[in-house]
């Protein structure tokens, strides 16, 4: 899902930078208005986990692999806005030090993974609908993380499809369905991992993870 430099036209890179910077600014304002210092260790450790998890590709089908993105995971742990900032840190480090995702394409990568992932919080919230049931929670996270993966792939398919390198090969008519196809499958990996981990964490006594805000309070 990490778009390398060279895949996107300069125009699309700039448009995605502007959109993502807008969301980041908004997330920053929202986060600082409700931030408590007790969240810092959870934010740092969960971001580090997402970085590590993104390194481990699992095989899907016909010689294609995928990895956890973790946007929904972070959004349920940290809330949508802090999750967007947290995932952005991961994407920055990957682009700066690991040549995973480009510098010019950074705006697009932040949009596809951090912003869509962070906003999936609202879908989890709508689907759990104040229910305290663990199975309802598992289902809500499963569906939301799957959708966030597919939407990210859809956005990526549009971005590359409108860029010259891929428009020569058929454009969005080809890139969107193929990106969505692979990520419908990869999304099941994302969904199983995210729903299992979060349901296990939710079961832990509240003293273990004291800053587990959004999850404990019925996703307020």
């Amino acid at each position: 899902m990490h778009i390398p430099d060279g895949f996107l036209s300069l125009t699309i890179c700039i448009v995605m930078y502007v959109i993502s910077m807008g969301f980041l600014f908004w997330s920053w304002k929202k986060t600082k208005n409700s931030y408590s210092s007790s969240m810092t260790p959870l934010l740092a450790v969960s971001s580090a986990f997402v970085f590590a998890a993104q390194m481990i590709n699992f095989p899907i089908l016909y010689g294609t692999s995928g990895h956890l993105v973790g946007g929904t995971f972070l959004s349920v742990l940290l809330g949508p806005y802090a999750a967007i900032l947290s995932m952005t840190i991961v994407v920055i480090m990957q682009a700066l030090f690991f040549a995973d995702g480009g510098i010019f394409t950074f705006g697009a990568n932040v949009f596809n993974m951090a912003i869509i992932g962070g906003l999936s919080f609202f879908l989890v919230k709508a689907l759990t609908h104040e229910s305290k049931s663990n199975s309802r929670f598992f289902f809500s996270v499963f569906v939301s993380s799957w959708i966030s993966m597919v939407l990210g792939a859809l956005a990526c398919g549009l971005q590359i499809g409108f860029s010259p390198l891929f428009s020569a090969a058929g454009g969005i008519v080809v890139t969107v369905p193929t990106m969505v196809f692979w990520h419908v499958l990869i999304g099941f990996g994302e969904a199983i991992i995210t729903a299992t981990l979060l349901t296990q964490l939710k079961r832990m006594p509240s003293t273990v993870l004291s800053s587990f805000t959004s999850l404990r309070g019925g996703l307020d």
Partner: protein
């Protein structure tokens, strides 16, 4: 031991165990690019640890593990700095 430190240790241990099993097949986007005959140009920045390897370490597993552990601490550090910065605005 602090629960967060425990969690961090678990993350690193799991990473060390799972790295050999990680698939080296192309991911979804790389696969789409390959199928369409789009070549990935060498990244301008390159990065110090391209594709999660430390170029000076010859052993594949060691190279990826070291890159991974460095990455985990880079992200952890950045997360702590972000948290610290946000705390300045705490009410």
């Amino acid at each position: 031991m602090n629960n967060y430190v425990k969690a961090l240790v678990i993350v690193i241990v799991c990473m060390a165990i799972l790295i050999p099993f990680a698939s080296s097949d192309p991911d979804g986007l790389e696969r789409v690019a390959e199928d369409l005959g789009v070549e990935e140009t060498e990244s301008q920045s390159g990065g110090l640890m391209p594709d999660y390897t430390v170029p000076t370490v010859k052993n594949d597993y060691g190279s990826t593990l070291i890159a991974g552990v460095i990455g985990v601490f880079l992200v952890l550090g950045a997360g702590l700095v972000l948290g610290k910065t946000l705390t300045k605005y705490e009410h």
